[in-house]
Amino acid sequence: MNHPGRRLAVQAAAVMAAGLLSLTACGSSSSDAPEGASASSGGSSASSNLIAIITPSPDNPFFKAEADAAKKKAESLGYETSVASHDDDPNKQSELIDAAISRKAAAIILDNAGADASIGPVKKATDAGVPVFLIDREINQTGIAKAQIVSNNSQGAQLAAQEFVKGMDGKGNYVELTGKESDTNAGVRSKGFNDVISQYPDMKKVAVQTANWDQQEAFSKMETILQRNPDVQGVIAGNDTMALGAVAALKAAKKTDVVVVGFDGSPDAIAQIKAGTMLATALQPAALGAERAVEQADKFIKTGSTGQPEKQSIDCELITKDNADQYGVFAKL
């Protein structure tokens, strides 16, 4: 085992594997001819025309839509792009930002991996002359990132809750499924729901459980809740994935007249709304936020200013059966 030659071979293999990994991390670069962007006229010292797009894992279609929209917009403006996922790991995010700095990216579009854990890496990039534009999630500090463009979770939750109350005629027993309790958005949405619903004294919340944004967990928890409260008339969920889990549980229990409302505006939820098994969802315009961030990055690179305040919020839109046809993948068609 301790044979030196063998150990060397193992080390060489490890180095190669690491190399391969970092290659994949910076993968999917596209080298379209840069025309419109002759970069580096802004305040930054960036000398390439690369826009690095860093988001959470694309296994959630929301983040995929966001990354795809940013990539498309940047390429249409003549930039090279690199798309990578930090998988909600602050450490990986930091490495990806280091990589973007060393490639002298013109800008970073970031959906960050934690409101506090991301402050350091964003500052690092800014200090190195790479402007950072945050989308979807804020960080707990202003004055570092050039822009923080997030959808208005509170407004979206209130919008969804109003439709929910309307669907239940302002009365009845309902269940709330909340998101991962460590995620700020879960709390903001839950508060938004409750701010509206608490104004209706005949709306009775019989159970609240977190299902960690997860469909299978929502399914089994909903089944169990139905055992105790067979007379549930409504379910409001912190995201569409959990709403879909609840829909499956209600279907298994042969309860067809329960009002279900979700959040996000995912394509699967829109399909359920069209089929009538879900009442409504609040669409977070992921694509719009990403496009706006790229536009502002472009403006900043060319003029040294975004012309916008740092904190910007994009209102969510309500999707119901009436307008479901007008929406595609996290965007209005």
Binding site: P61, Q215, Q216, T224, Q227, R228, N229
Partner: protein, 379 residues
């Protein structure tokens, strides 16, 4: 002379009685320990029934058992691997992979060579998914037996590879509607999660059938004896001519197939398949096996115990949801139950050793005056 003899006899008889009483006492304690998972389950059921009217109803018991089945199917596969002294961390990822393969197949397979889309019938989809799980398990087995990778590492690697494969096949998205289409003759997939032959959900039947099969396998076949022996002392077992490598590969294969089955149940219940399904399910399965009294070092564990372990975890989780206890507490309580189970297991081991010693004394004392036949046949 005759007095001392009688005294000796009396003393001996007293000693014998004492030893026998001690052995009986330890035996009772041992039985209690042996039944501890059952007792825990009984306590859970009583406590939850007192706290909520809706707990102890036939309907709720069936629902909870259906939830238990998903974990129990995984845990039965895991039991075999743990009996061998190994561990399988990849089962959660295989759950996701199996669902995704089902989704892909039910959506229609594009055969570009013939320019057609093939829609395999549901039974073929089920067989292919279980086979895929078995193949992944077999790769685990080969890594462990032929390439000498430690089970923890081999299956940890597979945890990532299988999850990555699920994401690659699905392109990261969820397959939304697995109900099939009458025009392509592939409807009926939702029966696995929603069907109720003889009043019980299919998932429960799968659990029962699998439990019986594995119990028979362990109890009445050479394979079962080989497996226990391998877990107890691998080297000695190998030297006595048992095909240890094959036994080890087979247990990983079965574990993979069980995981795939579990993935099918989940995908069918939701009539949709997400590539991230089954995340961290391996830990629940390991917990069920451990609560059921199996030793992680191998060679000890039963199907009955594992099932009860799965029921304890499942009933605990659902009971706390019915009571409306916060998720944070649910996690803390689950962790505590697992650790307490292992502590009890350790004391059981001690009692068993003492019990064995005490009964040896009792047997020896009983054998002393009449050393003829009975004692020998006892040995």
């Amino acid at each position: 002379m005759s007095d001392t003899l009688t005294n000796d006899h009396a003393a001996l008889a007293g000693q014998r009685r004492q030893a026998a009483a001690e052995a009986r006492r330890l035996k009772t304690l041992n039985t209690i320990f042996e039944l501890r998972a059952f007792i825990a389950l009984g306590v859970l059921i009583i406590v939850f029934s007192l706290l909520s009217d809706s707990f102890l109803t036939v309907d709720n018991l069936i629902t909870m058992t259906k939830h238990v089945a998903i974990n129990a199917v995984l845990a039965l596969g895991m039991l075999l691997v743990i009996l061998k002294g190994g561990i399988d961390l990849s089962v959660g990822s295989i759950v996701g992979l199996s669902g995704v393969i089902a989704g892909e197949l039910l959506q229609g397979v594009h055969l570009s060579l013939f320019g057609v889309i093939a829609y395999p019938p549901v039974w073929a989809v089920v067989i292919l998914c279980v086979a895929a799980g078995a193949v992944v398990g077999t790769i685990n087995g080969i890594l462990v037996t032929r390439l000498n990778v430690a089970p923890f590492i081999a299956t940890l690697g597979m945890l990532y590879v299988a999850r990555g494969a699920a994401l690659l096949i699905s392109g990261g998205t969820t397959y939304p509607d697995l109900a099939g289409d009458p025009s392509t003759h592939n409807t009926g997939f939702d029966w696995i999660g929603g069907g109720r032959p003889l009043g019980l959900p299919v998932a429960i039947w799968i659990m029962i059938i699998l439990a019986v099969l594995i119990a028979v396998l362990l109890r009445s076949t050479a394979f079962g004896r080989w497996l226990y022996a391998t877990g107890g002392n691998e080297r000695a077992t190998q030297l006595s001519g048992v095909p240890v490598q094959r036994v080890k590969t087979i247990v990983y294969m079965v574990s993979g197939a069980c995981a795939a089955m579990s993935g099918l149940i989940i995908a069918s219940e939701l009539t949709s398949a997400a590539p991230q399904a089954g995340d961290s399910f391996e830990l629940n399965a390991i917990a069920a096996v451990v609560i059921g009294g199996a030793a992680l070092s191998g060679g000890r564990g039963t199907v009955r115990g594992t099932l009860v372990g799965a029921f304890v975890i499942g009933f605990l989780a659902d009971g706390l949801v019915i009571l409306g206890v916060s998720t944070f507490w649910q996690i803390v309580i689950k962790g505590t139950v697992i650790v307490v189970a292992v502590i009890l297991d350790q004391s059981q081991q001690r009692f068993q050793r003492r019990g064995a010693a005490a009964s040896a004394v009792a047997v020896a004392a009983a054998a002393e005056p009449e050393p003829a036949t009975a004692a020998r046949s006892d040995r």
